[in-house]
Symmetry: C2
Subunit: 347 residues, 2 copies
């Protein structure tokens, strides 16, 4: 057991020993675990891979994120990308830049919470890198496999006019949590418990993604993505209007649109209450809300009934059109914009 007391400086070896107690080093998907230059993955079938940064004072503040919250969320938002491909998460690597005030109790709480989420999905920590840093810095790369050998991953493209649009989970709650945590710190948990939980401890929709992939075996696979920047910013990506990491460009030739029906009654009560207290439109607030890690997708309308039955939290929210624009409850939304890390700070 480590000999350190709270606040004492930590050696790299001491940190690695704490980590080793929380994360098993072997896994059926690994030929070689941590400790060498690389980990070695069995990889007998296709793998989906995603990387995310999670940086202090950019993506989170330690003023209201506990170490348990951080350990959970840093991994959860990455697992969500695997879920959005209909994949089964297998493993991850962790890059961790630690400020000097991080001590043993902090690391125990952080690793413990991350290990609990990894264990829930039977994922292995396959490697990573430790460093000093001024601010807490977490980078995760995650990978997963398809539900069975040869089964498809679910992609963003492929929607057709007439397809049904759906969500698994509901948008807007995490943004309310963010706003109230920024304003009040953790005192916000008393008045906005669901919203704060949505922001601090999002739950990736792995089971729903796997269920959607299973359906894709017998019919046209659903289009699927996760909501990280808000429905109003992410929906155009599902429609192929804009692309992340390199698919941008001349997508405007694509004339897919969407007509949403999102009645206020469908929204979480905390989202409605928060918007009304601020004199804002609850539906607009829900559409703008980022970091929900809901799944957003489209499918042929004939499989809607089975999805409603099979997937908890499944909601039909409209149809794919050929209009090239997006409306919600008969209001055109082309002027409503979601979150851009760079635009937000440069404005």
């Amino acid at each position: 057991m480590p000999q350190h007391t709270a606040g004492a400086p930590l050696s790299e070896d001491a940190i690695l020993k704490i980590l080793a107690r929380h994360f098993p080093a072997t896994h059926p998907s690994l030929l070689l675990g941590r400790g060498d230059d690389c980990a070695i993955l069995k990889a007998e079938q296709a793998l989906c891979v995603s990387s995310d940064l999670f940086l202090e004072d950019v993506h989170f503040r330690r003023a209201y994120f506990s170490p348990e919250d951080l350990g959970h969320k840093a991994l959860a938002v990455n697992i969500s990308d695997v879920a959005a491909c209909g994949g089964r998460p297998l493993g991850f690597t962790l890059g961790l830049g630690l400020p000097r005030d991080v001590d043993v109790p902090w690391l125990e709480a952080f690793f413990g919470s991350m290990a609990a989420l990894a264990g829930k999905y039977r994922m292995v920590l396959a490697g990573g890198d430790l460093s000093r840093a001024d601010r807490l810095h977490i980078s995760v790369t995650v990978w997963g496999e398809a539900i069975s050998a040869g089964a498809p991953f679910l992609l963003r493209g492929g929607s057709l006019p007439g397809d049904s649009l759906f969500l698994v989970g509901l948008p807007g709650l995490a943004r309310v949590g963010l706003q109230e945590l920024e304003a009040q710190g953790r005192a916000a948990l008393a008045q906005w418990p669901a919203a704060c939980a949505a922001h601090l401890r999002p739950e990736p929709q792995v089971d729903a993604g796997l269920m959607l992939a299973r359906l894709g075996l017998n019919s046209r696979p659903p289009a699927l993505m996760d909501l990280s920047d808000g429905l109003i910013r992410d929906l155009p990506r599902l429609l192929g209007h804009t692309g992340e990491l390199c698919e941008g460009g001349e997508g405007r030739r694509n004339r897919l649109g969407a007509s949403l029906l999102l009645p206020q009654g469908l929204l979480h009560p905390e989202v409605v209450r928060h918007a009304l207290e601020q004199g804002k439109n609850p539906v607009h607030e829900a559409l703008l809300g980022g970091e929900d890690y809901c799944l957003l997708g489209s499918c042929a309308p004939d499989i809607l009934p089975i999805l409603h039955t099979a997937i908890p939290g499944f909601h039909s929210i409209g149809v794919i059109t050929d209009s090239g624009s997006i409306d919600c409850n008969n209001e055109n939304l082309d002027e409503l914009h979601g979150f851009d890390h760079f635009a937000a700070e440069d404005a």
Copy 2:
């Protein structure tokens, strides 16, 4: 083409368009490239995977690293981990936290240099994440495959007493470069060109790693790792005395040792000159030198002649013993310690 001028704020989409011009989005090893929630790798055989952080003012300073140097080194040090497993690099993901002063010319230079190195090894950028950050932050996850289906990756373990120890490349040069760049900035390039180049633009030893893996097909595979923290700190890892990420613990039961022969005449002239100018022992300085990204390994002595012939930069430097300790040129080195990120700053 982007419309931005130097210093103008950059949107995320503008950054992604620059990136897209430098990095092709398709690759024989990818079923799906950038732009979706995950990239999808074909993965018909085992993959080796590694992640590294590369953080401003921890791992580098922009005072003397040009954007071209940074784009090269951030990827090179990750490729080196694949080389150290005898693997062929295939692809990588890139997490990039950008301060506000990063502009279009900076990004063009950074991406251009990274893309040149990726192109040299035919690697694909499969995805990643962009964010604002106070300081430049680069995290890379890299993967590769074995030289042929079913061929082994080369691991750190497996040395036997009597095996020959070898290096590909020579240690100490990058540390001289670091010290002089810290002292003089880029003016150091005039007086210490090889040392500065070794620190700013290390070349991963991919061809040597593949050649060693090829030899491993017909005989006991060599043990192999790359030198990132200095020979004196990394050699105990090859011997199994200490482990990174979770293999630490009770390794002292392992009684492997090493007897090195590292004549001063073998060292790079800039290493010798630098040590002598400072009144230090050139061999000690070489043993302490970190970030060399040489390969360090051991093999049965009977394959030494073919390795000498086949691998440029190959040097025998001693033998594996059963003494449990390390000596060099008949001097015991158990008191000499290499670099620890955490110990170094906390001391």
